[in-house]
């Protein structure tokens, strides 16, 4: 079974430019999460999709960030325009849906974003 994949693995852009990150969750996983880790700090939640619907985007820093999950499959996270403080590693994670209370989240390899 393929794991969570993310593209690109690294991205270096200049302040003011736009970047789009992509996440492909494990097939069949309804839940998709975006997290970010900035410079050795804790990993912070950004948002959560159930299938194609945004359930919680309380962690999104501001309106420069836009996430979509077309058809409930892959997801994209666009940063426009990028600022220096957006640098960090962006992780995507997925988990199963259903009645069980807690599900293990499977993380992708992350996209390291550097804004110069």
């Amino acid at each position: 079974e393929a794991g969570v994949t993310q593209f690109p693995s690294h991205s270096v852009i200049e302040k003011g430019q736009t970047v789009t990150l992509r996440c492909d969750p494990i097939s069949g996983h309804d839940n998709l999460y975006w997290y970010r880790r900035v410079m050795g700090k804790e990993i912070k939640f950004l948002l959560h999709f159930v299938k194609e619907s945004k359930q919680d985007e309380s962690g999104m820093p501001n309106n420069r960030f836009l996430a979509e999950r077309t058809g409930g499959t892959y997801s994209t996270l666009k940063v426009q325009p990028a600022e220096l403080e957006d640098s960090g590693v962006y992780f995507c994670a997925s988990s199963q849906g259903g009645r069980r209370l807690l599900y293990e989240q499977y993380f992708g390899p992350g996209t390291r974003l550097t804004v110069t």
Binding site: N31, Y33, Y35, K41, E42, I43, K44, F45, H48, Q55, D56, G59, F91, A93, S95, L101, L102, Y103, E104, Q105, Y106, F107, G108, P109, G110
Partner: protein, 112 residues
């Protein structure tokens, strides 16, 4: 909102020594999860604890959840170089998103 504080931030040990990282909350947690992130890698789920006083073992790793469900620890016996990485505790919110709230992580380095 609820947070978890994790200590120490860094730990350097000689290979073969033991290692412990602690996770504390000011409020009762419904669950605690532990993840390991190897250098340059991504968080990998290790275990989940949900019961008061629960203790689980995975080979040389021992995980505990406090009686009051406000603290947790991960103890590694006789560290090996393969244990190098950052260990995170986290809890999953029960309502809504079941998003993970992470501690700051403990970075473990080992002198062979």
């Amino acid at each position: 909102g609820q947070q978890v504080m994790q200590i120490p931030q860094y730990q350097h040990v000689q290979e073969g020594e033991d290692f412990t990282t602690y996770c504390n909350s000011s409020t009762t947690l419904s669950n605690i999860q532990w993840y390991k992130q190897r250098p340059g890698g991504h968080p990998v789920f290790l275990i989940q604890l949900v019961k008061s006083g629960e203790v689980k073992k995975q080979k040389r790793l021992t995980f505990q959840f406090g009686e009051a469900k406000k603290n947790s620890s991960l103890h590694i016996t006789a560290t090996q170089t393969t244990d190098v990485g950052t260990y995170f505790c986290a809890f999953a919110t029960i309502q809504g998103a079941q998003k993970l709230v992470f501690g700051q992580g403990t970075r473990l380095t080992i002198n062979p």
